[in-house]
């Protein structure tokens, strides 16, 4: 495939799909497609003829796709583009609303993705196939439900073969899950450093002695990390490692049991307490919900990013007025509690992600482009930044000008809540430090935001002094309904 990224047909090769020679992904007019190489056709046909595709896609375990016999981008394509696709099959998978990465998932999301991968591998084995990779990046979330997106991950199972992707599964799923369960939830971010999963030797050295009591962790992490053949041995000696299907099934069952045995230690986080113990009165909370609902009804956004969502109260409210909500918060416990409440609520258009807004996910991998930055992955129609600005300005020291510019670049509309200095939250923040934030005054806030936004409405919440504002980025020449 040519390295050209873009041509006149708005055809963009996805930078995250070049390792597997079975095919590659690309975008055409912002929709994702997959090109399948002739060398993979037999496996692809087997997946269909064995009934595996129908089974997995009907349960929504695997993303559904349509085969594109006469794809639109090849109808008027120049000869160089057409030649790049010569012999390839093109499929168009169901579009995923927002691409998220494993280092942005909370514990229960990672656990769901791990169990989905194991279930798919078990089903594949029953149909004479196996997963040739078990990367956590092959799983995405639609709302709170995981879905496997790599249609080209399946290959014919050869009797007696061990699972090629066993180590990858342990590094991508079991290692971060064990580290979160036994050590700290902040270790989930290690997956961002190690693109192909957290090395097992490192995981084993970081885990506590207590983890040895879990037979699954003792086997698949500790013992597994120590089994390394001596490099001096001749290659021929390890050529035929045989494992029966029954043995393989036992390993998969044991992995499932191990994943299920891991649980998050419930800790009360600072932000988790925020909802119940904040200075809002019942009246001001009701008023806040009423005002936000009214504004969302008039703006009619399709996608909303709730930045600093906390436990997701306003993401839930917003989800009734749009197609998709991405709830972002840096606090693992908040997101965990939100995921838990979403599982019970059956809402399927909210995706909670752990994102530190002062340090969002960077571009990583080859050329810093294999995994995209947060900002490259979508543009919301509306940003909600409720009770966030004081954290960005005071805790992180980000000037109003930078906050306003960033929001105006990312989204069209903005609902922002200004928290004054005499609010108990801000007073607490400034309690043990010098107040150098002389610009932290409402009229300065409005002046600076007005450089980038037009202020549509502002509303002071009763019994709280906090002020809600609805703004629209100036670069959009608009007509409001």
């Amino acid at each position: 495939m040519s390295s050209s990224e873009k041509d006149t047909f708005s055809f963009i090769v996805d930078h995250g799909s070049f390792r597997d020679p079975s095919g590659f992904s690309f975008y055409y007019n912002n929709e994702i497609f997959r090109a399948i190489a002739p060398s993979y056709f037999d496996h692809f046909e087997l997946m269909k003829s064995s009934g595996l595709y129908d089974l997995l896609s009907s349960h929504e375990y695997l993303v559904k796709h349509n085969e594109e016999v006469d794809p639109p981008f090849l109808q008027n394509a120049n000869s160089s583009l057409a030649s790049q696709f010569a012999g390839f099959k093109i499929i168009k998978p169901k579009q995923i609303p927002f691409i998220s990465y494993p280092y942005e998932w909370c514990f229960s999301q990672l656990k769901k993705a791990a169990l989905l991968t194991l279930t798919i591998q078990s089903e594949a084995l029953k149909h004479g196939m196996t997963l040739k990779d078990a990367s956590a990046f092959n799983v995405q979330f639609i709302g709170n439900k995981p879905i496997f997106i790599d249609t080209l991950s399946f290959e014919k199972y050869k009797e007696g073969s061990p699972w090629i992707a066993y180590r990858q599964f342990c590094q991508h799923f079991l290692a971060p899950l064990a580290l979160i369960a036994y050590k700290s939830e902040s270790l989930s971010k290690l997956s961002q450093v190690f693109l192909d999963g957290i090395p097992l030797e490192l995981t084993s050295s970081l885990l506590t002695m207590r983890s040895y009591l879990n037979t699954g962790i003792a086997s698949h992490i500790h013992v597994h990390s120590k089994i390394q053949p001596k490099k001096t041995k001749k290659k021929s000696s390890d050529k035929r490692i045989m494992l029966s299907k029954r043995q393989l099934t036992t390993i998969l069952d044991h992995l499932k049991e191990t994943v299920n045995s891991l649980n998050l230690k419930t800790k009360r986080s600072l932000w988790n307490e925020y909802v119940s113990e904040s200075s809002y009165t019942k009246k001001s909370t009701e008023e806040k919900s009423k005002i936000i609902s009214g504004w969302l009804q008039s703006v009619k956004p399709k996608t909303i990013w709730d930045m600093g969502s906390n436990t997701g109260t306003y993401s839930l409210l917003a989800s009734a007025f749009c197609n998709h909500v991405i709830a972002m918060d840096a606090d693992h416990a908040c997101m965990e509690s939100f995921c838990h409440s979403l599982t019970n609520s059956k809402k399927n258009n909210i995706l909670p992600l752990i994102i530190d807004l002062a340090n969002p996910s960077p571009g990583i991998g080859w050329n810093n482009r294999e995994r995209k930055t947060l900002i490259q992955r979508g543009k919301p129609d509306l940003i909600m930044a409720l009770a966030l600005v004081h954290h960005l300005r005071i805790s992180h020291g980000i000037p109003f000008e930078k906050i306003a510019r960033s929001f105006s670049e990312q989204g069209e509309w903005l609902i922002i809540e200004y928290v004054p200095k005499d609010d108990s939250q801000v007073e607490e923040m400034l309690q043990n430090r010098e107040d150098i934030f002389t610009d932290y005054i409402f009229h300065r806030f409005i002046d600076i935001f007005s450089v980038y936004f037009d202020l549509h409405h502002q509303h002071e919440l009763p019994e709280s002094k906090r002020i809600l504002c609805l703004m629209r980025a100036k670069k959009y020449n608009y007509k409001i309904a």
Binding site: S39, E155, I241, L243
Partner: protein
Amino acid sequence: MHTTLLYIDPGTGSLIAQVILAGAAAFFMFFKNAFKSFFNRFKSDSKKTDNEQNSN
């Protein structure tokens, strides 16, 4: 004719580990299930006794 497109390194150690751990996993799961069924029987026996007592 199927060709295998092996593009990830499975790690020789990880292939050997599967052979060893398959035996260990079978052992652990056998004992866990035996342990569970023993206690479940014990539980269902006590439930039965409770029910019998209640019906009397």
